[in-house]
Every structure is written in C-alpha cells, then in structure tokens.
C-alpha cells in the first residue's frame, strides 16, 4: 500500500493503519526533530506528539502534494515551534556548549586531522549534534534533510516552501557556519 492508499483508508475509518505511516517515517522524523532537541530533552516524546498532530491533521490533507512533503512541512513547523518554546533553554545550552563542548570538539579534532576517519567513533554524533543545534533553524533543517536524510534540493524546496535557489544558498551558509563553529577561530580543520 502506498501512502495515498493508506491515508484514504485511515480517513475512511481504518485508523489503525496509521501505524504503517509511523513505521515508515519515524526514523526520518526523529532525525529532523533530533537536530532541534538533541540530547537536551526527551526527543522521543516530541516525535510522538508530532505524529499525534499529524494524525489529527489528516483531515486537512488535500492530496495536492505527496503525503510525505505535506507531513514533513508539519514536522518542520513543529520543530521550529519547539525551538521557539525552548528558546531560553537552548540559549543556556549554547552557553554551556561554548564553554565545555567546544573544547571537546577542539580536542577531538586535534586528536586527528582526518575527521572522516574519526566519524565512526561513538562521540562523533554528539559533537555533530552539539554543533548542528547551534545553527539557525533553517540551516539546521536544510543540513539535516540534505546530508543526514539525503533528500534532493527539489524535495527540500517543497518541504520548506522555498525556491531551489534559496535551498542552495541556505545549504552553503549552513556548511560555512558549521565549519566556523568547528574551527572556532583555530585553524584546526
């Protein structure tokens, strides 16, 4: 069954079929939301509430775009809402990161010039996460969608409701910013 068929059946009353939608998208949705909440809170609870929101919004789905594009728009909006709500917490987290984790990142990078080789190590994700979480919302989203979830520029432009050119610029700026944070004024990379 494709998404469209599942949604039609859910709307016709077979609500239990929503579990297929959850199974299909849970990891991708988690990954987007994870770039916002990281290790600071119970990310899974937020992912769950987003899926509940998606379920209750299904009536509004007009089958004009693909279901996934429509769904990712909700996920992105909810992530940004989450970020706004947690704004203060994130700011304090950023301060914490600047003092502790940047040193950690710097030490990590110092230990080996080749980031790629180190990427498989367990700590990498935490470091990436802590860097990613510092980026502006739009940069966070484009980087997650492109580099982590491997969506095309066109798909990202639809999900974020912006032009492909904007996606190009945002991705470039996001990478540049990410690099700046990683370097932190030190020529480490």
């Amino acid at each position: 069954m494709n998404d469209k068929e599942i949604i039609e059946k859910i709307l016709a009353g077979q609500e239990n079929l929503f579990r297929h939608i959850i199974d299909r998208y849970k990891d991708k949705v988690f990954s987007i939301i994870f770039s916002f909440c990281g290790y600071t809170s119970d990310c899974e609870d937020i992912v769950q509430s987003v899926f509940i929101k998606i379920f209750y919004s299904l009536k509004k789905f007009k089958f004009e775009s693909s279901f996934s594009t429509w769904m990712y728009r909700i996920v992105i909006n909810e992530s940004i809402n989450f970020a706004k709500k947690r704004n203060n917490k994130i700011i304090s987290l950023q301060e914490k990161i600047s003092s502790d984790d940047d040193q950690e990142i710097i030490d990590f990078i110092k230990s080996d010039d080749n980031i790629e080789k180190k990427a498989i190590e367990q700590e990498t994700q935490k470091l990436v996460q802590n860097t990613l979480i510092k980026l502006k919302n739009n940069y966070k989203i484009v980087l997650t969608l492109r580099d982590i979830e491997n969506f095309s520029y066109e798909e990202i432009s639809q999900m974020m409701n912006v032009s492909v050119d904007t996606v190009k610029i945002w991705l470039f700026r996001a990478r540049k910013k990410m690099r700046e944070i990683l370097i932190q004024g030190d020529q480490l990379l």
Binding site: E15, N16, F18, R19, I22, D23, K26, D27, F30, S31, F34, E44, V47, Q48, F51, I52, F55, I115, E116, A119, I120, T124, Q125, V128, Q129, L132, L143, T144, R146, D147, I148, N150, Y153, K168, I169, L171, F172, R175, K176, M178, R179, L182, I183, L189
Partner: protein, 146 residues
C-alpha cells in the same frame, strides 16, 4: 571570480549540482587557491560526518505506544461525542424535563400564595368556630334556664 562565489560552488559541487564546465572551472581555481581547497576539504568532511551520524533511532515500542496514545485520545473524543449526541437526541426529553422543573417551581411558589389564603381561611374558621362556641354556650345556658 572571487573566492566568495567559489565557496558557493564548492557547496553545490559536493551535492553534484554543477555542470561539467563548472566543475572544470572550480578545479582550476582549487588548484591555485589554497584557502578554497581547505574549504572544499572541510565541507566534504562535514557532509561525511553528518551522513555518518544520527544513528540514534526511536525505541522499538515507539509505534505501539504512539498508536495507543492516539486510540486513547480517539476514545476520549468519542466519549465526548456520545455525550453530546445523547443530549442532542434527547433534546425534547431534556427540554420537557427542564419545563417540568420550571413549571413545578412556578406552581409551588403559586401554591405557597394559596397557602397564605388557606391560612387566612383557617384563621377565619377559628373565628367562626369561636362564634359557634359562643353560640353553643348560649344554647347550653338557654337550655339550662329551662
């Protein structure tokens, strides 16, 4: 071309978004510019690190627990709907019930004013009865005279 524009090209290149011509142009620049070469290496590393990260996934029972929450919410919603439907369906009954209550209140308050009339009657009756008593006494004394 300025290095700033080259940086954007680098970002596009690591996503395979450049034409062959553009790639050739970029490579020529990278050969001659160390600064941009470093950026190219860093952007590539960042992309690799990102694509290798995010191994964290939702827990195994995520789908079940989410579905349970949705179904619980649906049931709660249905309960509310059932109550509202009940009220709607039995609107006439509910309305008549309310009417009866109001009518009884009105009746009772009206009754209480009847009660005062009744009380007045009893009061008068007492008077009458006392008159009767006097009358009876008179009869007795009359009889006693004979």
């Amino acid at each position: 071309m300025k290095c700033k524009n080259i940086e954007l090209m680098i970002s596009l290149h690591i996503d395979n978004k450049l034409s062959l011509e553009e790639v050739t142009f970029l490579m020529e620049h990278l050969n001659s510019c160390e600064k941009c070469r470093q950026i190219y290496k860093d952007f590539k590393d960042i992309k690799i690190v990102l694509s290798d990260s995010q191994k964290t996934k939702v827990t195994n029972d995520f789908t079940d627990s989410t579905m349970k929450k949705i179904i619980d919410l649906q049931n709660k919603k249905n309960d509310n709907i059932i109550f509202v439907d009940f009220v709607k369906k039995h609107l006439i009954m509910v309305a008549s019930f309310v009417f009866i209550i109001i009518a009884s209140i009105v009746f009772l308050s009206k009754n209480s004013s009847d009660n005062s009339a009744l009380a007045e009657y009893y009061l008068n009756y007492e008077q009458y009865s006392s008159v009767e008593d006097i009358y009876d006494e008179n009869i007795i004394s009359f009889l006693l005279l004979y």
